[in-house]
Amino acid sequence: MVRVKHRYLTVQYLYPATLLESAPKDLPTTIQFRQPTPDDFGAGRLVQAIRAGVEELYGDYGLGMVNTGLKVNYHSTATSTSIIRCPQAHYQMVWAALTYMTKLPKPANTPVVVRVIRVSGTIKKAEEEVIRRAKQTVLQMKMIEAGMAEGTPVNAIMNAVEKSVTKEDARNVLAEVDEGEATEEET
């Protein structure tokens, strides 16, 4: 199809360094890590930050290339996720600008790690990725709420593996014999 083609970057903001003051002490590290983004870092600020970053890295050329199709399609500060649309040919510039972003822009000024989770050609796939991740997170939180220890995913995996191993063992029995017969054979 002949049209202007874009790339959609699904982006997550991680806060490895900042501690929340208002948080309870037993807050899981995942939440600590993925705490909400300050509201004053809105979509407009994000675009500005990207532009500034691209200009810094690639100069006027980069800015010109990127500026045409740059748009924030989805920016959720509550979940620290956004979907950014950028020109197909130069999405790497945007990516680089995001990666080199170490601090949120001025009023917030918190240290941040911007992580590009997925690059897709359609917004649908980007959305699906966000949904998938959110579902995963919700599941994880549920497990934490259910009282499982931190690092529960690992535990869950271990449990699952153990289960499957026992199942496999049960299946690997050469022949299943009724107990009565077994005793007969033994005798």
């Binding site: 208002s22 948080a23 909400p36 509201d39 500060t77 509550a78 979940t79 959110a134 549920k142 709420e145």
Partner: protein
């Protein structure tokens, strides 16, 4: 402002809100998700859940925003072109939505203008209102008048009324109970209900008319077909669906009640006598009258027979049309038999008249009855047809029947998907219950168990119905009428259904109707036909239409067009459309003509084919004859034209041609012997046409045979087919010819990739052959289209027999006649369209296995050809070699005999011609005669050049044999196959060229080793190089891997290794080095100064006038020759001379220029030793030089003799000034070196 109003109105702001929302996905802010800024697990989770929701919602909205116009929701077959901009064109339930969307999207709504406009909402509504008013007034007036009359004459009227009532009472039972005594009058249909009476004055509705009016286009009210209102085509799009349901999936049904049925009743002999008189199935050789097999079964009434029925008198027989004849089963104790003759309504009247007349002739007479409006029929075809019928038509007495009776066999057939798996033209006759009592119908699950399958197979194989079939009730008028009368109304059935428990059918009652039916299959049309009383058609039809198929969906219904389409897809001529030789077909053709012409005139000028300006080539303009017609009149022969030109009126209805059965026609055409009657009256016959090139033949396309008078044109047309077989050519304006997939053609296509459509001349191009003349026109296409069943365009055409055969009457061209036979060959193959559907299939399709076999055959052929030619060429070359060697041997013997004598006599006197004789050949005076087979007489091969025997086996590697080393062999050794070696047996180079230091080291080491006295054999070889007996190592020829070629410097004539050549050139030409820089300086200085003598400054590419290079080239060479590097090298050679290898030295390859040689002859030997060969290779080198000298004696021998004995020593480069340089460099080939 006015300008603004004209513009399209702007869409409302919120119209595409749904679409836009896609790009603004609502997202939660941190402040709302965490109101107090407090972060905990629950809030975190909720935030993510909200995210999921909002994103999913946005995806849903986006999906909705993208698609979802109302007209797109309409099922495909209900879609209309105008649905996108006319909300009226979508189904009612979607209209509102469509209107809203159109408004939102700013689509201008177009109002349809269809209809007369007089309807309730039309523009001319007032007309209707007015007429209603008028009628009301008139009615009031009448009423008033009546009231007046009533007042004046009441008693009289009362008397009249009673009289009328009495009369009608007397009439009613008469009408109900019996028909007029004389049955041989045309049937009048029962008066339709008063509501519909005025609409059926000139035509009759089919029993399912009300069903079809809602769903199909029916013949226009004023133009009925064959006095019936026949559905032409469903309102939905069904072209592909018809193809699918008739052949692949589902079922398609037609109400065929318009087919006429004639009932015959009488003694069997009389009835069969009547049928014989009408020449029933004459074209099949009257095989139906045989006393065994199918004929017998047919006469017994357990099978039907389809055949053509003809007029009673007149030869050749005049075809009325194809008819189906069904006998009733002989009832015990009754002598009378009944039979039905079913025929298309277009032939009914003619047949009726014939039958009535023939019936009177029979003794005892046959009672003839017109059952047109008494017996209706439904035709159904498709894989699910049997399933539909067997579940809708439920025998009334299914429970208490013997297991082999038709009633009990019938339900078991549900799983039969192909009618042809049943016995040919088998029939069932039994009374069925009203299917409306089992409404809604449930789909019958087909029997899939193995048992039931095998049972079914057994039934199909043994077919017990042939013995258990009872007399069909449908033949009896009483039963038919009873069924019609006892048919309950829909209302009463609804009442009963309502009373029945939910999900169950109402209970059967004894008063339920028994509908007599007769079901038979037709092998020709691959379909089922149900005969049933006229009034019972509608209820059964409805049930069939609503039956849920096991494979999903419902059966479809078709119109006349679909029936034609099915026939066309099977390449089966349909009656009457493809039978212009019958009256029905002729009438149809006349109708079509005018319809086509009207259609053409209706089109705008730019969009219709301008027939008058079509270029037919060679100055002919305009289509031949009436372009909208299959112009059969043009094809009438001149003689017969006079006979059959009585009046215009009769030519409209009477066909001037006689239809000939295709099978007969193919026989006639193949044997080339038409009977006299066939020649006297014009005959037409149907053929199937498939295209050679591209293009779709349509109706009225002209069919030409290959031009017979114009040979050039003929070859042009033939070249289009690209095959050995000529074919008759059919073309409209795309062109094409009848053509058949022969296996050979397929093979040719496989082998010759050019023979696609790409290699063909396209119609419309300059080279495309022009249309043959009118004398070559042989017929017309009656139906043509792209055939979905075959996947390519086909057509059914009719050809005039006389035109096809006319060639025979002009026997002056012999070759033409032969070619014409070819034409007929193809036609006879194509004629299969006529009768046998199977025949057509086998003729057209190429089975899978066939193709595989074919491919295998071709491949085997090719491979064997290759092997054969290889073996042949091997044998031939071997034989030639032996012959040559035999000749060589003889020649050499002769020469050796001759030489001593000539030497003795001083070679001036000539003795007799030299002769010699070996056991293989005889040499006589310069000629060699072979004796016998050289393969036998000459055991070994001698080289014709060096006269030495050749080695037969390689000396190393694969297949090696140690040769007898005492002999000398030709240097042309067989190629060696050995790993790491080339074909000469030389090892591949393993390392790169060695540097000078390494070489010197190697050399020294060699010297030491060679200096030992152990190397005797080399000495021996060196001692007597002319002797060949001393060889104990064979030279394999070729160049060793370490060999580096050399080249002669064009400037100084020295031979140099090419690795050193560039370096040398630089110096030799004075490009580099100290001297060159000086030259350059000088040149520059010259330019800067007063320049050259001519006064013009020299370009950089001009000759350099430097003083150092101004001397003659020899001097320069000399200067170069004295370069220290060269000196060093030569010194080494000098050192070599002191080694024990001294004797060998002269044999080493060192080269002397030709110019030097000349000088040498003059007495001053100047030698150039440029290369110190690797001593390791010396032996081989030496041997190779010997063999080379023997190989090419013309070149080397001379030089050897010139050089004389190898006494010359290595001499340092010392050129005599002037002489060496005087040799022109161009005349000197660079390879003219020799060795001392």
């Amino acid at each position: 402002m006015s300008d603004n109003a004209k513009k399209r109105k702007r869409p409302p702001e919120d119209a595409s809100a749904a679409k836009r929302s896609r790009f603004n996905i609502p997202a939660a802010r941190s402040a709302t998700a965490y109101p107090s800024g407090e972060v905990n697990v629950a809030r975190f989770m909720r935030a993510h859940e909200n995210e999921i929701k909002s994103l999913e919602n946005s995806m849903r909205l986006a999906k909705k925003g993208l698609s979802g116009r109302a007209f797109q929701d309409v099922p495909r077959d209900l879609r209309r072109r105008t649905g996108s901009h006319n909300p009226q064109r979508v189904p009612k339930r979607l209209r509102q939505q469509a209107r809203r969307e159109a408004e939102e999207d700013n689509t201008p709504i177009k109002k349809g203008k269809s209809g007369s406009g007089i309807g309730k909402k039309g523009t001319k509504m007032w007309l209707r209102h007015e007429s209603i008013k008028k009628k009301k007034k008139a009615k009031e007036k009448r009423q008033k008048a009546r009231e007046k009359n009533k007042v004046t004459a009441t008693p009289e009227i009362a008397a009249q009324i009673t009289e009328h009532a009495q009369r009608s009472e007397a009439q009613v039972p008469k009408k109900m109970n019996q028909r007029p005594k004389d049955l041989t009058t045309l049937a009048a249909r029962d008066g339709p209900r008063s509501r519909f009476r005025t609409r059926q004055i000139h035509k009759t509705w089919l029993p399912t008319h009300l069903f079809h009016t809602k769903r199909a286009r029916i013949t226009p009210p004023k133009e009925p077909l064959w006095r019936f209102a026949i559905p032409l085509s469903p309102a939905n799009k069904v072209y592909r669906a018809t193809h699918r349901s008739s052949s692949q999936r589902g079922a398609i049904a037609w109400d065929m009640s318009y087919m006429s049925t004639i009932g015959l009743e009488g003694v069997e002999a009389s009835v069969s006598g009547l049928l014989r008189a009408l020449n029933f199935a004459e074209e099949q050789g009257s095989s139906c009258w045989s006393n065994k097999g199918m004929g017998k079964k047919w006469q017994n009434g357990t099978r039907t027979w389809e055949g053509w029925i003809y007029e009673r008198e007149g030869r050749p027989l005049a075809l009325i049309g194809p008819a189906t004849v069904i006998w009733s089963v002989q009832e015990p104790g009754s002598t009378k038999r009944e039979a039905f003759v079913r025929i298309h309504p277009s032939g009914f009247l003619r047949l009726w008249n014939e039958v009535v007349r023939a019936a009177k002739v029979q003794k005892p007479a046959v009672a003839v009855e017109d059952l047109r409006f008494e017996v209706g029929s439904i035709e159904i075809m498709g894989p699910a047809a049997t399933e539909v019928l067997s579940s809708i038509l439920k025998p009334t007495s299914a429970t208490n029947c013997p297991p082999e009776s038709p009633e009990s066999v019938w339900p078991k057939l549900a799983s039969v998907t192909d009618v042809r798996s049943l016995p040919v033209n088998s029939l069932f006759a039994f009374p069925v219950s009203d299917p409306r009592l089992c409404y809604p119908p449930k789909s019958a699950a087909p029997a899939v168990t193995e048992e039931s399958q095998s049972e079914l197979l057994e039934t199909l194989a043994s077919w017990p119905i042939d013995n258990t079939q009872n007399a069909a009730e449908i033949f009896s008028r009483k039963d038919r009428l009873a069924a019609c009368r006892s048919l309950p109304s829909q209302q009463s059935i609804n009442r009963r259904t309502g009373a029945a428990p939910v999900g169950q059918y109402p209970e059967t009652r004894t008063t339920d109707p028994r509908i007599p039916i007769l079901v038979f299959n037709s092998i020709k049309s691959n379909s089922w036909t149900v005969l049933l009383p006229w009034k019972c058609v509608a209820p059964i039809w409805r049930c069939i239409m609503h039956y849920p198929l096991f494979t999903g969906g419902n059966p479809r219904f078709g119109g006349l067009k679909e029936r034609k389409q099915v026939d066309f897809e099977r390449s089966h001529p349909s009656f009457p459309f493809d039978h212009p030789g019958t009256d029905g077909g002729w009438e149809w053709e006349m109708m079509e003509r005018s319809a086509r012409k009207i259609e053409w005139t209706k089109r705008p000028k730019g969009k219709r084919i301008e027939w008058t300006s079509i270029d037919l080539g060679s100055g002919r303009k305009g289509e031949l004859g009436d372009p909208w017609a299959c112009d059969w009149e043009r094809l009438l022969l001149k003689g017969s034209e006079e006979n059959t030109q009585p009046s215009d009126a009769s030519s409209k209805t009477k066909a001037p041609f006689r239809q000939l059965d295709s099978e007969q026609a193919s026989k006639v055409v193949a044997s080339w012997h038409p009977s006299v009657e066939q020649l006297s009256t014009p005959h037409v016959f149907t053929v199937k046409i498939s295209m050679v090139s591209r293009g779709v033949p349509t109706a009225c396309a002209r069919v030409y045979r290959l031009p017979c008078s114009n040979v050039e044109l003929r070859t042009k047309w033939l070249s289009l087919t690209r095959g050995p077989k000529p074919a008759s050519s059919a073309r409209r304006h795309e062109g094409g010819s009848t053509w058949k997939h022969t296996p050979r053609r397929v093979a040719a296509r496989l082998l010759d990739p050019v023979t696609g459509d790409g290699g063909r001349i396209k119609p419309g191009s300059e080279e495309y052959p022009e249309v043959p003349g009118e004398e070559d026109l042989i017929g017309f296409v009656t139906t043509g289209n792209f055939n979905l069943a075959e996947g390519r365009p086909t057509a059914v055409a009719n050809l005039v027999l006389q035109r096809v055969l006319r060639h025979d009457q002009r026997p002056q061209h012999d070759d033409d006649a032969a070619a014409a036979l070819g034409t007929l060959d193809t036609m006879s193959e194509d004629t299969a369209a006529g009768e046998h559907v199977e025949g057509v299939r086998t003729a057209v399709k190429l089975g899978q296995g066939q193709l595989a076999d074919l491919t295998k055959d071709i491949l085997e052929d090719v491979v064997s050809n290759i092997i054969f030619s290889t073996a042949l060429s091997c044998h031939r070359s071997e034989k030639l070699l032996r012959m040559q060697s035999a000749a060589t041997q003889a020649e050499s013997i002769a020469l050796s005999n001759l030489e001593p004598s000539s030497q003795a006599k001083g070679s001036s006197t000539q003795s007799g011609p030299p002769t010699a004789e070996t056991d293989a050949a005889k040499y006589e005076n310069g000629r060699v005669y072979l004796k016998g087979n050289p393969l036998k007489t000459t055991p070994d091969i001698t080289c014709p050049h060096c006269k030495l025997p050749r080695l037969m086996h390689p000396i190393m590697g694969k297949g090696m044999q140690n040769p007898d080393l005492s002999k000398e062999y030709c240097m042309l050794y067989p190629w060696v196959q050995r790993q790491g070696h080339d074909v000469y047996g030389n090892p591949f180079p393993t390392d790169t060229a060695k540097t000078k230091k390494e070489r010197e080291l190697l050399k020294k080491a060699e010297k030491d080793s060679v200096g030992t006295p152990g190397s005797q054999d080399t000495d021996i070889a060196a001692d007597n190089p002319s002797q060949s007996g001393g060889f104990n190592k064979l030279n394999t020829g070729g160049k060793p891997a370490s060999y580096i070629p050399w080249h002669t410097c064009p400037n100084c004539k020295r031979s140099l290794l090419i690795t050193r050549f560039a370096q040398h050139l630089e110096k030799c030409l004075g490009i580099s080095g100290r001297q060159s820089s000086r030259n350059a300086m000088a040149k520059l200085a010259g330019q800067n100064g007063n320049g050259t003598a001519s006064g013009t400054p020299l370009g950089s590419r001009m000759g350099t006038p430097a003083p150092a290079s101004q001397g003659d080239p020899v001097a320069k060479v000399k200067g170069k020759g004295q370069s220290p590097i060269k000196k060093g090298g030569d010194d080494e050679d000098g050192d070599d001379n002191e080694t024990p290898e001294k004797k060998k030295k002269p044999k080493k390859s060192s080269y002397v220029k030709k110019a030097d040689r000349e000088k040498k002859e003059g007495g001053a030997p100047v030698k150039l030793k440029l290369k110190a060969n690797n001593p390791a290779k010396d032996l081989e080198r030496k041997a190779s030089t010997y063999s080379e000298s023997s190989d090419r004696p013309d070149k080397r021998d001379r030089e050897e003799t010139e050089d004389g004995a190898p006494k010359a020593k290595k001499i340092k480069l010392s050129l005599v000034k002037g002489e060496g340089g005087s040799a022109p460099p161009t005349t000197e080939p660079p390879s003219a070196q020799t060795e001392p």
